[in-house]
Symmetry: C2
Subunit: 271 residues, 2 copies
């Protein structure tokens, strides 16, 4: 990275639809990168901080969004994307030569959802969990874009160092990976918490070890970082741990399948 990314990027006029977590963070990121940002929301709720802190043009009237918008970003909940897209198509029907790009930010929805309404559409998916109150370093967040041209890629590059082109089919695979890395890893924490209840140790006692485990995969691949009885093929410890779980067949099954998989992954790596 050489200096602030946005210096070399063409400034755009961006209209964001929505004022939730993703919309608010994108408004901050785009403003910070020097783009001109307008925000529409169904109600005044959520618009106040965007108007106040960022000085964005904010409106509850979609037709009032700037006519010279380069990119519209629909950043609303997954199940509201289609209806907001229809409202936007309605609101822009009067523009004689409407050719602006319209993108949504939903990782799990295909680009085709927008193709009925707009000639020029795309997906602009920042892969992160957003909370309005928590500041984030946008340059570290990976952005996955899908489009015919390269306008969304340019926009993403103006805020982040990590920009990838992905088709809707590829984004499904990405989502699957994030289910393992985040949802299933978190469930491993839940199981650990449940196990610890038996000995009256609070889950927080595991946090330093969890923190180190997570830190390790930023410098080693998870395959290299693997430790524990399964990767050592320590049958004595594995049998004793399965025995400890004898009251819970579901967790025994997960323990056995995960341990087998760890051993298989190791040998796969050796091939």
């Amino acid at each position: 990275m050489v200096g602030p990314l946005y210096r070399s990027v063409k400034k755009m006029n961006i209209s964001i639809l929505g004022a939730g977590n993703v919309a608010t963070h994108l408004a901050r990121a785009f403003s910070g990168a020097g783009h001109r940002v307008a925000v529409w929301n169904r109600s005044e709720t959520g618009l106040l901080p965007l108007r106040g802190d960022l000085g964005c043009f904010c409106t509850v009237d979609m037709a009032a969004l700037p006519i010279d918008t380069d990119v519209y970003i629909i950043a609303v909940k997954d199940d509201a994307v289609a209806s907001v897209a229809h409202l936007l198509a309605e609101a822009t029907r009067k523009h004689p030569h409407f050719r602006s790009l319209v993108a949504h930010t939903a990782g799990s929805l295909p680009m085709s959802l927008l193709e009925d309404c707009f000639g020029h559409c795309g997906v602009f998916y920042p892969m992160q969990t957003f909370s309005k109150s928590k500041p984030l370093d946008y340059s570290k967040i990976p952005f996955f874009v899908e489009e015919k041209g390269n306008q969304l890629k340019q926009l993403a590059r103006s805020v982040s160092e990590h920009v990838f082109n992905l088709t809707s089919e590829q984004r499904k695979v990405l989502h699957l990976a994030s289910v393992f890395a985040c949802n299933f890893a978190n469930h491993c924490y839940s199981i650990a918490e449940d196990v610890l209840k038996k000995i009256g140790v609070p889950f927080t006692a595991l946090l330093p070890l969890i923190g180190e485990t997570t830190d390790k995969v930023s410098v080693l691949s998870p395959l290299e970082a693997q430790t524990g009885p399964a990767v050592r093929e320590d049958q004595v410890v594995m049998n004793s741990q399965l025995q400890l779980l004898s009251g819970n067949p579901d967790l025994q099954e997960i323990y056995a399948r995960m341990s087998e998989s760890i051993i298989k992954f190791k040998s796969h790596d050796r091939l």
Copy 2:
């Protein structure tokens, strides 16, 4: 926590056996808390930084360890604990009234391993992954102690805010919990890396999301922090993701078992 912990704790004479990662960090932690620390190691390797940086008394002759040692800590690899214990029993046989406490630091070994050699023994287990070069905040590390008296507890409290009494049987349960929270969570990362290879996205793209997932469980319980298709009972997404894994029955099985377990944990919580 009121001021530095060690101020209120009796200073002890500690002899550490070993000069590896755990031994080195314990020597730093004890010296930092104001205890007098001596270190024995089989070879000079590893002793140099302890002598230089910390000014510990260091020796390769076990019989030269201070005769007024309050606590001996055997901090060597699991499979060397028994032999070092025998060497120590040999070396201290000449002391006419040897009643010092001898403890090992191996989470997976029972206290009984030391009972044949010493009248007064215990386990002093700091639950963390240690690397010599990485500084750690010892006050955040949980220490699990097993002993007849409360000397190890006092020693642990002189460096950490998180000290627990655990029997050898309870420590097995703790180890099982750490296998889920660390080893199995890490394997979820490995699987994610494997899945991402199909679309040419590097594993590092998941790191911001993994970081947020881990941060969340320091403020919410993992059960409250759970997100994803399983906890939403979104069968459409789950079926589509199982379909994506159709080439790999092992991962399909893990996906199905983890998703079922997430749903069961949720209803268990509601009861």
